[in-house]
Amino acid sequence: MSALRPDLAIIADHVAPGSRVLDVGCGDGELMDVLRAKGCDARGIEIDPANVSLAVGRGLSVVQGDADTDLVNYPDNAFDYAILSQTLQTARAPDRVLAELMRIGRRAFVSFPNFAYWRVRLSLAWGGRMPVTPALPVSWYATQNIHQLTIDDFRAFVRERGITVERAWFLTGSSRRPAAAANLRAEHAVFLLRR
């Protein structure tokens, strides 16, 4: 098996064994596979049918659905963790998706690319072009990232909503960056949240 994406590796390391997990935007189920091996009861939602078929084909409980519309159907506190990896910025209503995530899961992992990363800033400020970086590899016209955000945006957002940040990890590639300069120096971030 290939190495997990850095944010997924952090999430996989910090989900307690045996817990109930919902992976929203689970792709072909690579994180769920690792969590299952840790004895977790992992469920997934994925919008792309080809990915769902791959995940179900490897025996995972994955439902084809849309984070924007289908999370309402899950009961409160149904999971120990709800996971939203690299999906928040693709939601039509990220605020509502996050609210649903916090309702369904006792805790939530959220990871996203940081639009204030210095390379992104350079591309915009000096190049005058929408950035194409390892974390944001797709051109403006094709990207699914319709709600770009920065680490500081997210910090302010959870503060306003009274959500507690239990832990946060800031990365460029797979290398850690300190929290203090994260908004400038980190390419992407992982937050562990609770109500």
Binding site: D41, R43, P49, V52, S53, A55, V56, G57, R58, G59, L60, S61, V62, V63, Q64, G65, D70, N73, Y74, P75, A78
Partner: protein
Amino acid sequence: MTDDSRFGLARSVTLAGPLRLDGGAKLAPVEIAYETYGSLDADGGNAILICHALTGDQHVASTHPITGKPGWWTRMVGAGKPIDPARHFIICANVLGSCLGSSGPGTIDPATGTPYAMRFPVITIRDMVRAQAMLLDHLGVGTLAAAVGGSMGGMQVLQWAATFPDRVRSAVVIASTARHSAQNIAFHEVGRQAIMADPKWAGGDYYAAGDPPAAGLAVARMAAHITYLSEAGLTEKFGRRLQARPNNANGAKSFGFDADFQIESYLRHQGISFVDRFDANSYLYITRAMDYFDLAEEHGGLLATAFGAAKATRFCLVSFDTDWLYPTAESRAIVHALNAAGAPVSFVELSSPFGHDAFLLDVPELNRVVDGFLRAGEGR
């Protein structure tokens, strides 16, 4: 076990019963025609029940005795297929009310010595499932590794999970629904009225004369067959193309009412070939059972409650994007209910041009999904 006469192709059993039916009647004895493939493991853990659709039968992977055609689901069942006799003990039984050997309107009523005809009690999907449970008891199968079915077969699988949650570890529900919609009932009523409007139906007592209401049943089948296909599929296969004639390979309009269009000819063929293998009264009874099906209704109107006891059952639902008979929204409603009940569920809408019939046709993705789902359950 190989010399046990309970197992193998073309089996049948007469169970004393009585089977208490949802409609209040008791059925005794209960005849069940079935087939088994493969052999039951010592621990009995490899049994898979396959539930057939409205006009299906027990010949899931064996030659049909009337048509001589291969089994109706050889794409899913057989050597190297997701459901494989080398790995699984496979059971497929003709449903109650049908006409391939299980108790139905064509069966002799022991009270009169003549066929039940319309004196056969009206049955439900749950009655079919209870009869299947009696068969499993007879076969010595306690818990099913999986129940698998498409269309009405999927309804039975859902009913299995709701009625006997402890006896089903995995449930595969393909192109199905948890309730019949007004549109579903409407199409069935057209079919039933076509049968009953045929003078040869004779109130259902046509068996003695040996002259069944073939015209009515053929029309019923033609109307139903349209609902199994997609508009795009029909257009691709037939379009407005005309039927070839002896003197004109490209066909010509007759300015009459022959089957000018290829689609007319195709539907007429579907209707005519159907009457050779199916009983008109069975068609009435089984469509009735499907129309009465509303799994939520049995559970206070809340579908999630139906699966409240099925927490140990894994579910896999598949719909097809061109199926307008049981569209994806119906599968999604079931998925939502299962999520609310906390049951492990997988769901995918597959793309196929074949409409509702896709579950019977060559859709490799379907096999991959079912295979992966079943194997994951066996790995536990």
